[in-house]
């Protein structure tokens, strides 16, 4: 079932990524980590559909946010990040997906690991966690790998996370440019960072890894080497393998 969504807000996260706030009548609510299919139709009837992760906390308040990264040569993302205006309408289907999701009933510690725009579904989990600060909720950790400081999405929200109760601890890994005085040289997530910035395997946390294929493959292998059980590791990959052109 396709629903008509109306754009009520636009916010640039980075030079290439935009968050779109949409209202949807009769939205049934979603679980953090789910996505929607968005359908655009051209004046001559041609249509294109793409899937986008929901960035906002689980709710049924008839409003969601998605964040779209503009892909070079993309068919839909340039339109969504550059042309779309407040008041425009588009069609959405969803919410979709029941595997890469975090429900507020889960009690085990959570480790989120994001590569680039892979932060989007993980941010929905963090926002859902922060929105339900009841005692006994599990501790979250986020390890967020970005090219450079200016590539961070949701900077204000991540900084505003209350630090006093350690409910969500955020670590960054900069792959190309780190802020001044950053203690780690720019580089990909490696064994040492997995050991220092993620839950020890003895904690039996659930891991959610989202990012480009090469990133997810590498991080999942490192987590396995660190002794984590594969059934505790959930992944969502996007993009090509990087090996074939």
């Amino acid at each position: 079932m396709w629903r008509v969504a109306t754009v009520v807000g636009l916010h640039d996260e980075t030079a290439t990524a935009r968050t779109i706030t949409l209202t949807l009548p009769n939205w049934p609510g979603h679980v953090a980590g789910q996505h929607v299919d968005a359908r655009l139709t051209a004046p001559d009837g041609y249509s294109a559909v793409r899937s986008y992760s929901i960035a906002s906390a689980s709710n049924s308040k008839n409003q969601i946010e998605i964040t779209v990264e503009r892909l070079p040569n993309g068919e839909v993302s340039p339109y969504l990040t550059q042309e779309l205006a407040v008041g425009d309408q588009l069609e959405l289907r969803g919410p979709i997906g029941r595997w890469f999701v975090w429900s507020t009933e889960q009690r085990e510690p959570i480790q989120l690991i994001a590569g680039g725009s892979g932060i989007v579904p993980l941010m929905a989990m963090i926002r859902s966690r922060v929105a339900t600060p009841t005692r006994g909720n599990p501790p979250f950790r986020l390890l967020y790998s970005v090219r450079a400081p200016e590539a961070i999405f949701y900077r204000d929200d991540l900084q505003a996370i209350p630090s006093e109760d350690s409910s969500v601890v955020v670590n960054y890994a900069y792959t190309r440019t780190a802020p001044k005085d950053w203690p780690r040289l720019p580089g990909r997530i490696d064994k040492d960072l997995i050991l220092s910035a993620t839950w020890a395997s003895s904690v039996a946390a659930t891991f959610y890894i989202c990012g480009p294929t090469g990133f997810v493959e590498s991080v999942a292998d490192l987590l396995g080497t660190a002794g984590n059980r594969r059934e505790n590791i959930r992944t969502e990959r996007f993009g090509p393998t990087g090996e074939r052109k």
Partner: protein, 200 residues
């Protein structure tokens, strides 16, 4: 009634016309898996066919690779909406693997290394519609694409083409597999756009 996006034209190509509804063309080979990629060494690899009560056939890598193979060029359609045309594979036909088996089962339940599962009617594995593929584009199949060997059932959405396949169980009932239990369609015909449970 569709909502028209002013200023949106999209990109159409001649190849796009060959695609099932709602799909777009990619020349990459995206990877979608629910968990870490298992790495299976060939000396430990085995593939079996059973009927729940007993193993009917069993191959190790050596005996599997002694079977006759076929080279096939097929189109792939992923439920996440990308399609890739004219992909080139080498594999063993399920007709070959099932040739000596007499069964009145109607369905197949497919198990992978790493505990992935999927289900499909047995008829969809027969008559040159399905293979256990081990080479892609003239190279050994990479682990992230399902190597050493994966099921290849190109007439259904690609989640049915289980990566890292290790066992096929012949059954009388259509038992939902991994994605089929998580909101995806029980059959998954891309030409009928059977993406999610509830789709016609």
């Amino acid at each position: 009634m569709a909502i028209i996006s002013r200023g949106f034209s999209g990109r159409r190509s001649a190849a796009e016309a060959k695609l099932p509804p709602g799909q777009y063309l990619t020349t990459d080979f995206p990877v979608l898996s629910a968990g870490p990629t298992p790495h299976i060494s060939l000396d430990k690899w085995e593939f079996t066919i059973d009927d729940r009560s007993k193993v009917l056939k069993r191959w190790n890598w050596k005996s599997f690779r002694e079977l006759p193979t076929e080279k096939i060029t097929v189109d792939l359609h992923c439920v996440t909406r990308w399609s890739k045309l004219d992909t080139f594979w080498e594999g063993v036909s399920l007709d070959t693997l099932l040739a000596d088996i007499t069964t009145d089962a109607d369905f197949a339940f497919v198990h992978s290394y790493g505990d992935y599962t999927t289900n499909l009617p047995l008829d969809d594995l027969l008559n040159r519609k399905a293979w256990i593929a081990f080479r892609f584009d003239e190279e050994d199949l990479a682990p992230e694409h399902g190597g050493p060997a994966r099921l290849l059932v190109p007439h259904l959405y690609l989640w049915k083409s289980a990566k890292w396949v290790r066992r096929i169980t012949l059954t009388h009932e259509d038992q939902p597999g991994f994605w089929e239990s998580l909101g995806y369609h029980i059959y998954g015909d891309p030409w009928r756009e059977q993406r999610y449970s509830g789709d016609e």
